[in-house]
Amino acid sequence: MTNQTQWSRTQKRKESLMRLLFTGSASLVSLVIFSLILFVGYQGVQTFRNIPAGEFFLSTDWTPSQNRFGALPFLCSTFLLTLLSVALAVPLALSGAVFLAKIAPRAVREMLRPAIDLFVGIPSVVYGLIGMTVLVPLLAKLFPGTVGYGILPAALILAVMILPTILSVSEDAIRSLPQRLEEASLALGATRWQTIRRVLIPAAAPGILTGIILGMGRAIGETMAVYMVIGNSPQMPKSLLDSTTVLTTAIVKDMPSTFYGTAWNNALYLMALVLLFISLLLILIIRMAAKRSELS
């Protein structure tokens, strides 16, 4: 503390100015998320002036031209699509994470890891295009009588999209475990597979869970790739290959035909608010998982 007295006046003034700037930008980040919740929330809640909450959340009839706004099909499809894509991605992503963390030779790992990170950066429209030009025709051929659009191709594309996210977070979790866990298990005579299954994966579980939830968040919020393969009919899907709509694609699809301030437009903001709450909830779950792993 004594050296503070030796700072010149310019130094002091600059120091406090910069400190103010840094604190200010940090506060601004907070301000952004709060105004986001506030504005989207305000606009979304306006919906309830025209549409009862019961209709919005429980009716399956989405016919805006006749003022019927039932968003239940979108909610259900979002839920189903997310679960299916995570279920498809997790086994492969987790195996890949174990492979990279514990089995692959160093050279293989050093080549693969950046390659996998690269795939997180590939634009979602590109994934969507591949789904549309390759996957949809393939599914239509495999399942005659369908056109190939629906939840199944969307889930497959999403699974590929979230695979790198789940994989890299899980791999980090496994690699950051203390070496002694593995050594102790091997010294007790366990094989590598037994060590992985009984020691490493359980110990890395909170980190793996974080990866899965991050992937889930990405799947729920993904818009463009899903839009290109899901068919976009506002109805409950009767099968996995039946055209349907999720929350994100409903917003994209209906936005151009609505005017600011109408019930229809507000209903879209309400959907955005639902998405916002789901993603905030996922963040809370990640925080809780992190806290639990700190305790143990």
């Binding site: 840094f22 200010g24 980040v29 952004v32 986001l36 590939i122 979602s124 994209v252 936005m255 998405l275």
Partner: protein, 286 residues
């Protein structure tokens, strides 16, 4: 005993298989995009103007808009993101305010891009009367970049050995001088890597831009007017597939996809990789 050795062998085989499957999947993906997209490339496709009804439109203005919007969005978000990152890495004490900032960053990074898009449409397009414009799009995109930049900056600053910080303070520097003269220069490679990866992701973003920067391009090219409509390359890819009437929509989409992937590859290989190597050398090969 023999049983467990056998399962161990089987498990090892299984994990190798899984690894190969992932590589094949990703490799096939890249291959498919390139094989279908590269033949569409021509001087006219890359730099020409798009067509409304006829075949043979280019993506020149869209390519230009992509980089212009990216540049503007980084211009808005870099100072704030880096500032907040420095705050978290250097100044933050463990108190309520820091906790609030941290949870805000996490929450912000989990917000789906379409929600940002609606927020931007509400705030910038409607209330601030920017209409569908390059400015509105880049302001919204800046919000998406913000949490990533904060995290990247914090990580890069924390990777600098604490001794630099201490030595600088011990020589009588203020904290700001230590940040500017000692911390930032050695955090720079990590920072550039992070910003590049952020930029690559922002470049491919589309859901956020449809209702903030619009679906058509200015008649002039290149048009630097930030209040002009600014459809980007990824939005164009989606738009030609979803709504356009041009007969070669599919070819344009495939060409645009390959172009997008190439740009992301260049961002990764040409800037991020050398920086990572440089950083390794600076921090002693960790």
């Amino acid at each position: 005993m023999r049983m467990s050795r056998l399962t161990d062998r089987l498990a090892t085989c299984f994990f190798w298989l899984a690894g190969c499957l992932i590589v094949l999947l990703l490799g096939w993906f890249l291959f498919k995009i390139m094989v279908e997209g590269l033949p569409q490339f021509s001087w006219h496709f890359l730099f020409g103007k798009p067509e409304e009804i006829l075949a043979g439109g280019g993506v020149g203005p869209q390519l230009f808009n992509s980089f212009y919007i990216l540049f503007l969005s980084l211009l808005f978000s870099l100072p704030i993101g880096v500032g907040a990152g420095i705050y978290l890495a250097v100044y933050a004490k463990t108190n309520r305010f820091t906790g609030l900032i941290r949870i805000s960053v996490e929450a912000l990074s989990s917000v789906p891009s379409i929600v940002f898009g609606l927020f931007g449409a509400l705030l910038f397009v409607n209330w601030m009367h920017m209409k569908f414009s390059i400015l509105g799009g880049s302001a919204t995109l800046a919000l998406l970049n913000l949490p990533v930049l904060v995290r990247v900056t914090e990580l890069a600053m924390r990777a600098v050995p604490v001794s630099y910080w201490e030595a600088s303070l011990a020589l009588g520097s203020t904290r700001w001088q230590a940040i500017r003269r000692a911390m930032l220069p050695s955090a720079l490679p990590g920072l550039i890597t992070g910003v590049t990866l952020t930029a690559g992701r922002a470049l491919g973003e589309s859901a956020i831009l449809i209702y903030t920067s619009g679906l058509s391009v200015s008649r002039h090219f290149p048009d630097f007017n930030p209040l002009a409509m600014g459809e980007t390359l990824s939005v164009h890819l989606w738009y030609v597939q979803a709504a356009a009437v041009v007969p070669d929509a599919r070819q344009i989409a495939q060409g645009s996809a390959a172009l997008l992937v190439i740009v992301v590859l260049i961002f990764n290989l040409a800037i991020a990789l050398p920086c990572r190597m440089l950083q390794k050398r600076l921090t002693g090969g960790k």
